[in-house]
Symmetry: C2
DNA sequence: GCCAATTACTTGAAACCTAAACAATTTCGA
DNA sequence: TCGAAATTGTTTAGGTTTCAAGTAATTGGC
């Protein structure tokens, strides 16, 4: 099948080992940090990471969010959010009500208790993250931000291209 | 409580916003790519990501691995591996036997079928990854590798420090 | 040789997660 | 205005995941 190595009109198995190694390293970093945060959250506040993440989204939206918004922001499935919200309403951290203008829509927001509790956790959480990244110089951080932004765009583009 | 802003012998709430934003971006990238890989694996080969990951570990170890090895490498809990292996043995992808020298130890390896199937998936998987990262230049890739290596060390150190 | 500590793995409960099918509601074109 | 299409959220089934507690086997100090 290899007929023309000049014009590249053939299917040579190119070497993508570097990209693969990069992906594995990216995954390792994330898993490592995520696991550490997860275990500290449980140990210190007896809360799970998904709950913390959901509350973090809501803390940034004083007027509340719809379940779809949350689902998109957190990049998790609809059904997942339903269950997560269910448990957080149950525990008194979230308030949930049907939208006045669209009866399909559920608007959720943090309760007073939920917000206070989250703020306490968030403050400590931020120091954990700073500590986990503490060997990086400010320049490293800037450079990583830049390269990850580029990565994000690249991945989104590729995912988008497949979607159609 | 703030008495001495010169010697820094006080607890000022420092700003770690940049590290936090970096972490969120890192998480976004990983989630994005992982979700894409997950959905392509399902669509193309009807296999889940955890199964693919486990098989990938075993493909690199022709003589097999113990469950503990797998658990450490994949950074998941022991109990998780037990169930995962269970299902892969059931489906004929894995072979599992008790070690001859230590009857607590289970050694697992890919079956012939399992290996063949994995190799097919892996080849395609590699092109997906290359595509997802395709907007990065070789220099970007090198630079990311370097910075992520540094990040990994930093995080490991911080996690280690807490562990004792 | 004995027994306490460690190691390897399994089990069980609860939570998390996805994909797919579904019901309710809204939107919008003809 | 009517009805098809799209949107929002729930439900269901099947996996994945953690943590904690438990069992079995080995190791090492005495």
């Amino acid at each position: 099948m290899i007929l023309d190595s000049e014009t590249k009109a053939v299917e040579l198995p190119e070497d993508h080992g570097n990209e693969l190694r990069l992906w594995l390293r990216l995954l390792t970093c994330t898993t490592l940090i995520e696991g550490e945060v997860r275990s500290r959250l449980r140990e210190r506040f007896d809360v799970t990471l998904p709950r913390f993440d959901l509350m973090a989204q809501l803390d940034k939206a004083p007027d509340g969010m719809t379940l779809s918004d949350v689902s998109k922001r957190m990049m998790v499935s609809n059904g997942n959010v339903t269950g997560l919200v269910e448990r957080l309403v149950e525990s008194g951290h979230l308030d949930r009500r049907t939208s006045g203008t669209d009866r399909r829509v559920q608007v959720i927001r943090l309760t007073k208790t939920g917000r206070a509790e989250f703020r306490k956790m968030a403050a400590e959480h931020e120091t954990w993250i700073a500590d986990l990244f503490s060997d990086l110089t400010p320049k490293d951080v800037r450079e990583l931000m830049r390269l990850l932004a580029k990565t994000k765009l690249s991945a989104r583009k590729s995912a988008q291209a497949r979607g159609l």
